[in-house]
Amino acid sequence: MSALSTGTYFTSYRREWALRRTRAEYLRLGLIVVGLAVLPYSIDFYWLSIVNMILIAVIGAVGLNILIGYTGQISLGQGGFLAVGAFSSALLYQRAELPAPISIACAVVITAAVGAFFGLPALRLKGLYLAIATLASQEIIVFVARRWEFLRDGSAPLTVDRLHIGGFEITRELFEWQWYWILLGCAALSVLAARNLLRSPVGRSFMAVRDQDIAASAIGVNVTRAKVTAFAVSSGFVGFAGALLAHYTETVTWESFTLQVSIVYVAMVIVGGLGSVAGAVYGAIFMSLVPVLLTEFLVPVAGAVDWVSESLPAIENAVFGLVIIGFLLFEPRGLDRLWQRSKDYFRFWPFRY
């Protein structure tokens, strides 16, 4: 825990539960809102497309953090759940011709149900065995997505029509810009929902299960219900991210939901900080930016040296591994903890502690 600033008193429980309690927190919120509002006007469409992918990743990472960080159930099946969300929303929108918001909502519900089903082994399995069981579910879901003809347009991957809601339609010229506002809204909604869920009794029961499940059941937490709910809620978030991904990229193929994707999501949660909604956001931003910045930095070098251009993907992979190992060795609680520590540093300055 970071140090609390002095002079913060609460005179009612309502005040203490509030999401934001101090003036500094409101100030930071204001700065973030201003920053996000100015952002699309200050960068070009290439960078805006990266920001859009980050926003989708934020939704998925926040969902995964509910499962891993708050309930302590490891899952390596995130790519699979992303696929369930993407395919179900795409099919409902494209083949059943439902309006986009309804198809996305259905995708969330379907993914939550699938997640709860694959979470059932968690009732009997712990830690390591659970990791392997979810790995198996990942492989099975991707296999189904790869082999089922229904999930394709003939031999081509499933395509999704450009998003239109009622009379509103995304235009080609303002594609990234319009999507930015939609995705920003969805991401903000997800973060808010997660924050609210985690200060409710349901969220508290998740944390009790994480800290000691046997003790939790002794004080009256229904462990079975908490675990299945956590899997459902977390998969629901991931399904939301998957559905948005399907509509945003306009094609859905199994190749974007491999085990590698699951691992990147777990990495986001770990690098960001386990058990922190803000951490998941930092992690999603960081892990999405690392490969982009690396390419940006290496492409000029690659022009001069053949060796670099040949092994660019491998270098990216090596950096990915190094980042994970580095964080776990030097700051196992992630970016969120780094942020808390830097705040403490200025708060105590000029004293060490």
Binding site: G127, G321, I325
Partner: protein, 290 residues
């Protein structure tokens, strides 16, 4: 009948290599409590180490194997010392994740060093077909089964009779008790990683011989998970049973039904086993206290 015999030989040889890979995995899990997601990459590194010593440095075969083994052991010890030891006592999620990061790093290093295409290494084992009961059986696969059986036998003997093997089992059983009787737990951890890397080297070399030395070797390592779940995460004999079962099942499915289903069959089997027996067929049931 000849198809059946052929599939059986293929299944047994795949299974024998899987058992070698799983042995390293179980060794690390038993002694140090770490789930090693980088086991497939150790197999990959093993395959390429022999390529390096045998083809690039042009050492004679015996010397190439000895140098390769030394490199594998050194790698195992270095990984344990630099990456895993600082994380002793951290939560299992972090430990799993660090091995995943390690897997990405090792895989990338191999690709940076040797490229993504398969490399050419002359075969070590003879591959003439052998006639048996009207079937043409590949000799190299039969030899793989024999070699793997010998190696597994030597490892079993090592655990049962040698001083270090017994120390390793003591550490696996109870770390504090092992410390009190004067066993160095640190050395046991390093030993476990060194032996795991060594068994992965043998597995990787054999696998490279019957297929090819390419980055795809690592994907084979993912099958280690169904194997160890089947056999139990902490059972050495379980790896042999598990490895052979998975190897045979996968080959029968792909031979008689569909190669695609062969990839997924082991995982379906895995889920079914976990639903019935959550600690695998031979794994120890753990009793938890608050």
């Amino acid at each position: 009948m000849s198809t059946f015999l052929n599939l059986t030989v293929y299944g047994l040889s795949d299974g024998a290599i899987l058992a070698l890979a799983a042995l390293g995995f179980v060794l690390i899990y038993k002694a140090t409590g770490v789930i090693n997601f980088a086991q497939g990459e150790l197999l990959l590194i093993g395959g390429y180490t022999l390529y390096l010593t045998f083809v690039v440095f042009k050492l004679p075969l015996v010397l190439a194997v000895v140098v390769g083994a030394a490199i594998a052991i050194a790698l195992g010890v270095v990984i344990e010392r630099l990456v895993l030891r600082p994380l002793i006592g951290e939560n299992p999620i972090s430990v799993i994740m660090v091995t995943i990061g390690l897997a990405a790093l090792l895989n990338a290093l191999v690709q940076i060093g040797f490229g993504t295409q398969p490399v050419h290494r002359p075969r070590i084992l003879p591959d003439d077909p052998v006639r048996f009961a009207g079937a043409q059986l590949p000799l190299d696969r039969l030899l793989v089964i024999v070699i793997a059986a010998v190696v597994l036998g030597v490892f079993t003997m090592f655990f049962r009779y040698s001083r270090h093997g017994i120390a390793l089992r003591a550490v696996a059983d109870d770390q504090q008790a092992a410390l009190t009787v004067g066993i160095s737990v640190r050395r046991a951890f390093a030993l476990a990683w060194a032996l795991a890397a060594l068994s992965a080297l043998i597995g990787g070399v054999l696998l490279g011989d019957i297929t090819e030395t390419s980055p795809r070797l690592a994907a084979f390592g993912l099958l280690v998970f169904p194997v160890v779940i089947l056999g139990g995460l902490d059972s050495v004999p379980g790896t042999i049973v598990g490895g052979l079962t998975i190897g045979l099942t996968a080959n029968y499915i792909s031979g008689y039904w569909d190669a695609g289903f062969a990839q997924i069959g082991p995982y379906v089997l895995l889920i079914l086993i976990l639903l019935v027996r959550p600690y695998g067929l031979f794994g120890e049931t753990r009793i938890e206290r608050v």
